[in-house]
Point group: C2
Chain length 201, copies 2
Amino acid sequence: MGMGRPREFDAEMALDQAMEVFWRHGYEGATIAQLTEAMGINPPSLYACFGNKEGLLKAALDRYSKLRGVWMEEVVAAATARDVAERMLMGIADKQTDPANPPGCLLVQGGIACGTGSENVPFELAARRAQNEDQLRDRFIRAKAEGDLKPSSDPAALARYVLAVSVGMGVMASSGADREALRQVASVAVQAVEAQSADRT
Amino acid sequence: MGMGRPREFDAEMALDQAMEVFWRHGYEGATIAQLTEAMGINPPSLYACFGNKEGLLKAALDRYSKLRGVWMEEVVAAATARDVAERMLMGIADKQTDPANPPGCLLVQGGIACGTGSENVPFELAARRAQNEDQLRDRFIRAKAEGDLKPSSDPAALARYVLAVSVGMGVMASSGADREALRQVASVAVQAVEAQSADRT
DNA sequence: CCAGATATGTAGTGTTCACTACAGATGTGG
DNA sequence: CCACATCTGTAGTGAACACTACATATCTGG
């Protein structure tokens, strides 16, 4: 039994192009025509490879989350909770204004609210964001155990806070905020984490 | 010359219903069929009164911003910059989880990313958010002049920061965060403003 | 009571959407 | 070289979309 005609396009490169379209226009705003043109393929190839539009989004999110997860490992490798927050938020400021990508964050731009038939898209994005929150929370739990964060601090609340600021910065970036403006936000935000840190005597 | 047949529905009540649909599904996710059903009218009445879908959104945003502006006046009436931030963020936590409305904030849920033909919807929302940022900034400028905020503080950055947190909380609310979770975020966030406040001796 | 003006309900309009049938192309195993 | 399997391009499919033509209804001014 033969193995059939081989695929003529690179699935990962095509995903990168699809990611950019979703990033810029959101899930509902992105059309199959735009996606296929950006990916350099025709609709049947897209459907054979990814199932349907939502399957393509999930594949793009997987790829995005994977790259992001690697970066988050670098972030939580910082020495203190304060440095984790700073590295995270300053990095977010830079990434979300990187001209190589659309402004903002795919996990936000992808679709915060969706119409009938796409209700689970926002959930899908939220689940990916929650992964990052979990990474931060675990790191802050450790920081508290190490005495880096005050005994009165709440690692889960801190992680949720840092993520909330990240998301807010993403929305601002997508509506035109420049890198310097986002860095200022990050700089202020870090001070809340500092306030939860044990005094360095 | 006669004045014609009078309108049979209340435009403001209809707007409230339309607002809720946009809030829940976003601009692109909301269909004319859903909007007219919620408003209790037929398409010709909608188009005669609001022009088109985007006109309806703008009218809903006007109404939303007006109510919000009144509330913001209460917020900036707080005694100190820290209290302004606390009143704002705690109020946001409550409002965005008020079961009387869809979760989150219309100025975010309305549409962060849109497809071809609706590119200015995100700008429209951003402009409304900017109004709130301006109100906060003016208040923080005053706080700095009064010596409430440190001379080294940056009122514009602080205002942008508080708005970023608000937006981030809105996204979290729309993806299921409960009131207590948002209040914790607000509580942490306020500490950054506290850190910019002059020592109360 | 009539003429002009505006609102309403019914029933569509053309367009765009996500998705696919089908035929031909290109590979593998025997 | 042939049977089989998978991919690719062309050209559509029905459904859903924003929006509207039109006849009718309800008002005001004279």
